[in-house]
């Protein structure tokens, strides 16, 4: 064993003595046959003992070698663990997608199904069927981008309400998220394209109390369990009674701060009970069924949630912005 300093050299020594084919011991074992039968057992025992001793010695030596090799490794290998780790590239979903998903997931848990519809929509679905006939002032309020006399870029996702109700009978509990368009100049708070989530619940016995309860349950999940909502009367042609819904300010819990302009409330969506004329248009009996609907801006919620000061940032795709969400 003198001069053996590596595992490779040790293997050579092991092969020399213990190899089953050519090892010294194997060769000696083979010679046993030529001994007189009386000597064989003793010689055999001797050889086996010798094999045992050699094997043991080799194993001991191997352990020694390994531990000294480890000792060398441990001595020489040293890293500055404060150096940066490998920068696997970062990817992020868009903040609007993030909020959109969060909202969808809450509603799906609440039994709402996600429905979609075309972005190029007919005048009928975008206006007429929603109790906004030609010449109605509400058509001005949401300045519309037209494709042709009869086709518009939908100004809300409310047409999906109509399409859904045309397709099935109550109970209905849906949300309709998606891109919507207005003829608005781009500025910090306006964009000709933004995202909306419309909701619709229709069944027997649905009241304004259910509207309040559903939205409260939603916002308590989206913001925090102590979020309160406030409804106050407002006007949208396709609901009656109509409501504007405020949530208690998520930054000051309603005490009054810069974000809520001291009021403790943040205006967040429009809602109301489905107008009986809308029900009549889709062939529902307004005496049998009642329902509520609401529409809220996904972008607006994102702006509020993350306190983004300028809507344009969402569509500039600057990765310094995107990487923050």
């Amino acid at each position: 064993m003198q001069g053996v300093s590596s595992l490779d050299e040790l293997t050579a020594v092991r092969d020399k003595y213990l190899s089953r084919q050519r090892g010294v011991l194997a060769l000696e074992m083979r010679k046993l046959g030529s001994l007189p039968s009386a000597e064989r057992p003793a010689a055999g025992q001797l050889l086996n003992r010798l094999k045992g001793v050699v094997t043991e010695e080799l194993e001991r030596f191997q352990e020694e070698l390994k531990s000294s090799a480890n000792a060398v490794r441990l001595k020489t290998e040293f890293l500055d663990v404060s150096l940066p780790g490998f920068p696997y590239p970062e990817g992020k979903i868009h903040p609007i997608r993030r909020v959109w998903r969060e909202m969808e997931e809450i509603f799906v848990r609440m039994g709402f199904s996600v429905e979609t519809g075309p972005q190029i929509e007919s005048d009928y679905y975008n206006f007429e069927a929603l109790n906004i006939p030609k010449g109605h002032p509400a058509r001005d309020d949401q300045d519309t981008l037209y494709i042709s006399d009869n086709l518009v870029l939908r100004t809300h996702t409310s047409p999906v309400q109509i399409r859904t109700m045309e397709g099935k009978e109550p109970p209905i509990r849906i949300i309709a998220p998606g891109r919507v368009y207005r003829r608005d100049a781009v500025d910090a708070t306006h964009s000709p394209m933004f995202h909306q989530i419309e909701g619709l619940v229709v069944d027997e016995g649905i009241t304004m109390a259910d509207l309040k309860g559903s939205l409260e349950a939603f916002f308590q999940q989206l913001f925090s369990p102590d979020t309160k909502i406030r409804m106050r009367p407002s006007y949208f042609p396709f609901v009656e009674p109509g409501a504007e819904v405020d949530v208690s300010c998520i930054f000051c819990s309603g005490k009054g701060c810069r974000v809520c302009k001291g009021s403790g409330w943040i205006e967040i969506l429009g809602a109301g009970m489905v107008h009986p004329k809308v029900f009549s248009m889709v062939g529902y009996d307004p005496e049998k069924y009642t329902g509520f609907a609401w529409g809220m801006g996904i972008d607006r919620i994102a702006i509020l949630k993350y306190q983004v000061e300028d809507l344009r940032l969402f569509f500039e795709n600057d990765i310094r912005f995107l990487s923050q969400f």
Binding site: P87, P89, G91, E115, A209, E240, P241, F315, N317
Partner: protein
Amino acid sequence: MKISYSWLQDYVDIDMLGVGVEEVARALTMVGLAVEGIEEVGPDTVFDLDVTTNRPDCLSHLGVARELAAQFRLRLNKPEMTALPTVEAQERLPIEIAIEEPGLCPRYAGRVLTDVRIEESPDWLKARLEAVGQRPINNIVDVTNFVLFGLGHPLHAFDYQKLNGRKIVVRRARLGERITTLDEVKRELTPEMLMICDAQVPVAVAGVMGGADSEIGEGSTTILLESAFFQPATVRSTARSLGLSTEASYRFERRADPMMPVQALNYACRLICEMTGARCVSEVVDENPAPYAPRPFTLRLSRIKQVMGVDVSAGNVADILSGLGFAPEVQGEEAVEVCIPSFRGDVDVEDDLVEEVARHVGYDKIPTRYPAPTTIGHFTAEEPHDRRIISTLVGLGFYEAMNLSFTIPAKEERFLTQVSAMIPISNPLTEMDTHLRTMLAPGLVESLRQNLNFGNRNVRLFELGPVFFPGESENFTDHREVRHLALAATGEAFGSHWNHSAGEFDFFHLKGVVERLLAGMGATAEFEQLSDSAYLHPGVAASIRLGGETIGVIGELHPRVAEAYKFTTRVLIAEFSLESLYAAPLAEPEYQRLVRFPAVERDLSFLLDREMPFSTITSAVQALRVQGLKDFRLIDLYYGQNLPQGKISLTVRFTFEDPTGTLTQNEVSERYSQVVEALKLQFAIEPR
């Protein structure tokens, strides 16, 4: 709409409540007149009210006062609106009113006053107008404005002496007629526009603005006061075509009160006579060919409960509706009969009355209840696909971008050999959003450019969104909206580190992303050399094919396009349609039993013609269906000086395995040779 607290006091004694301005503001907000600001103006307090389009009756102090009176159960004090007597017959001045378009102007009332002294208004009147942001002009104009903001009814004063023929004719404009309005603008008129004319020419645009020629001024002593009711639609369209919106048109468009013309006229006459000593020298002329008939209506208490979710007593309902002017009569236990007042054109169905009750009971009195679960929620069929794509790309280091759906043809032209048809927007707001995009790549390339401008150097973006195609029909009835996915990257490849360098993001990085993406959706695409893309480098581009159909492209941005965007680094880009990928639900994973016996690898290095696409080798190997060949992959590729002209050197690795046992050397060699021989035969490869 600015509402003065003191002015409100004229009509309702809110101070009596002793609740303070803040509480009044809160009450207004909670009945639907959102107070968006409270401002001190001298001794007065002014509310900035957001009045919804359905409530033109609240575009006045009287209307707002009515809401407060109903809310707080106070008396509404209307001003004296009976007619003053007319002077003796011999002093009277004639005025004739003819409505030629009763459909557009159902009512027109007027009265002539004389001995009018045009002068500055008294202080109380000026203070009222200034509080609501109106500049006092002279006593007559100020009275008409006072009535407008007080009662909500627009009036107009003509200089009687300037009216030809002492006559008012309400008719449509004649072709070629013109009028110079009070704002000194000469306006061309069209026959759709309703005009107030004298015996000869238009003297006012009905419901919008008076004419300069008949304007009252310092020398005026005799005036005709006009108080009319015009159809909302006609005022609206005229105001729009003239690009003119006034306090008057704002109210007529939303529907003024058809019962108010004479009352407002009487009130104005009283004020003018009181202030200036003027005298009424004509009767109240009231052309009212089809008088407004108040509509009776029934409100069921059960409906209130059905919609609101709370019981409201008949007495309470009656009190609220009475305060709002609906003259309710309780009919037993079940219903209340009402008469819809003329100023509430918005009340049209029973639920409108439910809202009236709900508003004044207070939405905050409605309990909170979560509707019983009757449905099970589900996402869209596309959601799993979207999620898989997005999570893969985010995991691979791409940021999700969102661009607007708009573009201009010039932007897409750079990216197309042949400009495809696009859907135009017929009334675009700016020159930059005239059409709907048919591809995502231009927007994404622009976003990449922007990022470089912002100082971001390594940028990987994707966008998953709709593009729009016009179809064949001229009016776009067969247009299509298609979900596309685009990827764009430039700069360092995945991660640059002090200890590693991955080099520049190149074609194969992006191809790998697309392959991973498609594999994740259970699809395998073919990439076919593409040399005629308008925006991709002809040598570094491929079409992406799925089941024989081309779904998109991948490649390096064409140097010509890259130059147009001033890129100095390579830009890799891919865009494809997701339609066919989304056509079926994502497949469930299919479990394959693991082979428990060791796999054996054999490498093969060989020379191949450079022109030969590697995919042909792959297909050939796959076509052999060699038993137990589990994997076949390229592990090295070399082209360079030591090789014969036109050749490349490839090393591929074959992995063999057998589920039933360990393969022997002979079995492996036999299968390996089978492949090698076949490749020799088909491609004349030269093993090295």
